[in-house]
């Protein structure tokens, strides 16, 4: 069974569209994250959710909004997509109180045309 799964794996869309990326983890973790990896492979945290509460929100455009229906899911909604949003988006999860590693999904490659 996949520990952290994201869908879709590839997403090609036009500027101005609204899209969502789904993420699910079956590890029983209480914290989930979204990271953005740009074309230079740089990884930057976008959001993290702990027990259904947003606790870290980096300076990302408010067109991006995370939604967590329960502890096992953290979806990423993006409104009014722009060319600069093209990147690989990774979902991850971890335990909040153990300082242990984060487990990553396989990534969603978003291309805005």
């Amino acid at each position: 069974d996949t520990a952290v799964s994201q869908t879709p794996k590839y997403l090609v869309t036009q500027m101005g569209n609204d899209k969502s990326i789904k993420c699910e983890q079956n590890l029983g973790h209480d914290t989930m994250y979204w990271y953005k990896q740009d074309s230079k492979k740089f990884l930057k945290i976008m959001f993290s959710y702990n027990n259904k509460e947003l606790i870290i929100n980096e300076t990302v455009p408010n067109r991006f909004s995370p939604k967590s229906p329960d502890k096992a899911h953290l979806n990423l909604h993006i409104n009014s997509l722009e060319l600069g949003d093209s990147a690989v988006y990774f979902c991850a999860s971890s335990h909040s109180d153990r300082g242990t590693e984060a487990f990553f999904g396989q990534g969603t490659r978003l291309t805005v045309v």
Binding site: V4, I56, T100, F104
Partner: protein, 115 residues
């Protein structure tokens, strides 16, 4: 605030040669340290981690790293690399922030193993 510096963006090395990938961090509190590997078109996979205890940490695929608090370093080493080790390697640090251990990544080092 925590930060991570990977000193080399690219490291070419011949097969069966040793390799060291360098990582330095800065933080005002105690941290946890990690090395992740990313193979082409895949997600990140944990190689090894340092939480406490022995400063020499052994990971998967023959990799090891040594935590040096005085030099704030956590360099990754392998005595003999294989072609299959060609990948992007990320050093990461986490510290407790608002109840969550947020990972901050370095910019990555691309290891290219030459046959």
């Amino acid at each position: 605030a925590q930060s991570v510096t990977q000193l080399d963006s690219q490291v070419p090395v011949f097969e069966e040669a040793p390799v060291e990938l360098r990582c330095n961090y800065s933080s005002s509190v105690s941290v946890y340290l990690f090395w992740y590997v990313q193979y082409p078109n895949q997600g990140l996979q944990l190689l090894l981690k340092y939480l406490s205890g022995s400063t020499l940490v052994k990971g998967i695929n023959g990799f090891e790293a040594e935590f040096n608090k005085s030099q704030t370093s956590f360099h990754l080493r392998k005595p003999s690399v294989h072609i299959s080790d060609t990948a992007e390697y990320f050093c990461a640090v986490s510290e407790n922030g608002a109840g969550s251990y947020q990972l901050t990544f370095g910019k990555g080092t691309k290891l290219s193993v030459i046959p």
